[in-house]
Amino acid sequence: MAIMISIPAGITSNQASTETLTQNLSDTITQTEATINQTLTQIECTLAPNFEGFGFAPPDMGDSRFAPPDGDSGFTPPEFGGGFRPGEFGGGAFGGGGTTAMNETLYSDVSSLENVAAVTLTLEASEGTEQTMEMMGRSFTRLVPDYVIKGVSLTSALFGSYSILPTNITDGRNLQAGDIGVVLLSENNTAFFDAGVGDAINILDRSFKVIGVYAPSGVEDVMNLYMNLSDAQSVTNNTGYITSITVFAESSDVVTDVANAISSLHPELSIVTGQQRLNQLEAMKTNYETALNNAESTVAQTQSVAVQEIIVAVAATSLIILFVMLYTVRERTKEIGTLKAIGFRNWTVMNQFMLEGVFLSLLAGVVGIAIASVAAPTLSGLLLPAVSQAAFPSRFTLASNSGTLVSMALTPELILIALGGSMLLGTLGSLYPAWRASRTRPAEAMRYE
């Protein structure tokens, strides 16, 4: 009975977790696609941080207290496939790698390269609290950001043609060329600062006026707070430093040429072109799609396994009730004979045995619910395929979907169905034994010892 009740609970939670997962994955795919479309003419140049090990979330991602750049740092292109979470790329619109500060004057020559349409400089700095965490036996400090300052060079030439600022303004206005001392908040920022358009907020002991609020386009820009580059540099005490140069080529045909030119001019820069990025994103999209398919097939598998198991459990339960009741009737043949000898009607005898069977099954149902409410996760975990293991390569750590043990929903409906089901099975299972009892011929029953 506990099995019968645990399995539907298991399916529900499996489904719930898979639905969340599926939702996350589809969101991520949509975002990825949107990013792909924007990216074609864009070239992202960052100074590669010098990682100790690869394949993990970079420590101190976008920390504002970075050291000035070390010109000859070991140059490794940021590799894709580090420890990211679905729906959350690393810092910034491109993410994937860490950010290291670079002196903006060193790179002013980039804008004069051939086929370069525009250059925008960005300083990105996260503000928040530090948290020490353990990963693979190593402990390091990670910044849990409250908000991310994005200083963008506000040049009139850039507006309109290139998307460097959020587009979906829900209140106030967007940043304009020459804006100083003002910020553009995301909707999530307004909650953190508890401020709206026209209010003054305090960022690193300096007061800024909220000029507008935007709706984030995805998980990657929920915490971004946009301001003029020069404001960002002075408020974070990084005057003259930037974290990335975004170069826009004249057309998508010359992107590779421009990238090569930048690369030969500044070999220390990590350059990701729209095409490379596109390939990475495509690969990522494929990855997510595979995961999505796996998750979906796991749900299908879970359901078919569950249906089989429920059929087996129901059949077994009915048989057990049938045999128990048959045994009871046999055991009490003499009693039945006596009852009939002293004038009990056939259907009174039948009623009595039916009632007994139904009551016993109901009791079993109650015990089953008690067991299931405690052991449902374990039971259904043993009996059903788990979403997380079946659907995901181990490197995808799903913070919100770790395994099937999310919450075993023993809803009142499920409990009622279980009780009703056990009563029904009790009725079915005792029907034949009770009928047999009522048909017992008293003279024969009395001889029975």
Partner: protein, 267 residues
């Protein structure tokens, strides 16, 4: 007192055991008058129990008629038979057959289940009957807490629950020691004399059988001999409470007004 309550005409019963068939009763004729205390004796397999089962409508004869108050019960459907089992006859078994999970009073109330008698009245009647068989104060005891003799008393009280015309007793003393044996047979005799209940009792025990007024010997499904036993009706009856003389048919003692049929009152 000579009205016929039970008449058996050419009664036959054949059991088939695989290919073999056993003739348990063969062409048996018998008339039992109202108020008679009859004992049936005979060796094992002579058809005693089969006869009793047929009389009690627990089994159907292969041939012949059973007239109970001029009604041929062999023609009745199962739906009608339960009424006869419930109201006309009361059964007493060798092994008592009390329900172990019910107390004495509940066991006595059992035959009244499904009748129109109100709950309260059933309870009262059961207590009265238990008092009559000498078990006052033991109403709440379960069978396992009662001695064999006491259990058979409960069974007798149960048989009387619906005030039947005939009591059928299948070796009622078979599982009892000699002291209890005689007490039970005296209890039955008192019922017979004082209430006029017709009793047919199957027994192996000639001492017990001799306490009845009529003895039938059964062999191979036939009555081979009939004998008159002690005529209980001629015996002097005294009240156990005060020792004064009572008449057959009295339910309470005319001198002390106490309920009769108590344990050992028959002298």
């Amino acid at each position: 007192m000579s009205e016929t309550v039970l008449k058996l005409e050419n009664l036959s019963k054949t059991y088939s055991l695989g290919k073999r068939s056993v003739q348990a009763l063969s062409n048996l004729n018998l008339e039992v008058n109202e108020g008679e205390f009859t004992a049936i004796m005979g060796p094992s397999g002579s058809g005693k129990t089969t006869l009793l089962n047929v009389l009690g409508c627990l089994d159907k004869p292969t041939d012949g008629r059973v007239l109970l108050d001029d009604v041929d019960v062999t023609k009745l459907a199962e739906k009608e038979l339960y009424k006869i089992r419930r109201g006309k006859v009361g059964f007493i078994f060798q092994t008592f057959n009390l329900l172990p999970y019910l107390n004495a009073r509940e066991n006595v109330e059992l035959p009244m289940e499904g009748t129109k008698i109100p709950k309260k009245e059933r309870r009262q009647r059961a207590s009265e009957l238990l008092g009559m068989v000498g078990l006052s104060g033991r109403e709440e005891h379960r069978p396992q807490r009662l001695s064999a003799g006491e259990q058979q008393r409960v069974a007798i009280a149960r048989a009387l629950a619906n005030d039947p015309a005939i009591i059928l007793a299948d070796e009622p003393t078979g599982n009892l020691d000699s002291k209890n044996k005689f007490e039970i047979v005296r209890l039955l005799a008192n019922l017979n004399i004082n209430r006029g209940t017709t009793i047919i009792m199957v027994t192996h025990d000639s001492q017990i059988a001799s306490q009845t007024e009529r003895l039938l010997f059964l062999s191979d499904g036939k009555i081979i001999k009939e004998k008159r036993g002690l005529h209980l009706a001629k015996k002097k009856l005294i009240c156990q409470h005060c020792g004064s003389k009572i008449q057959p048919g009295d339910t309470t003692c005319p001198s002390c007004n106490k309920v009769l049929y108590q344990k050992g009152e028959q002298s």
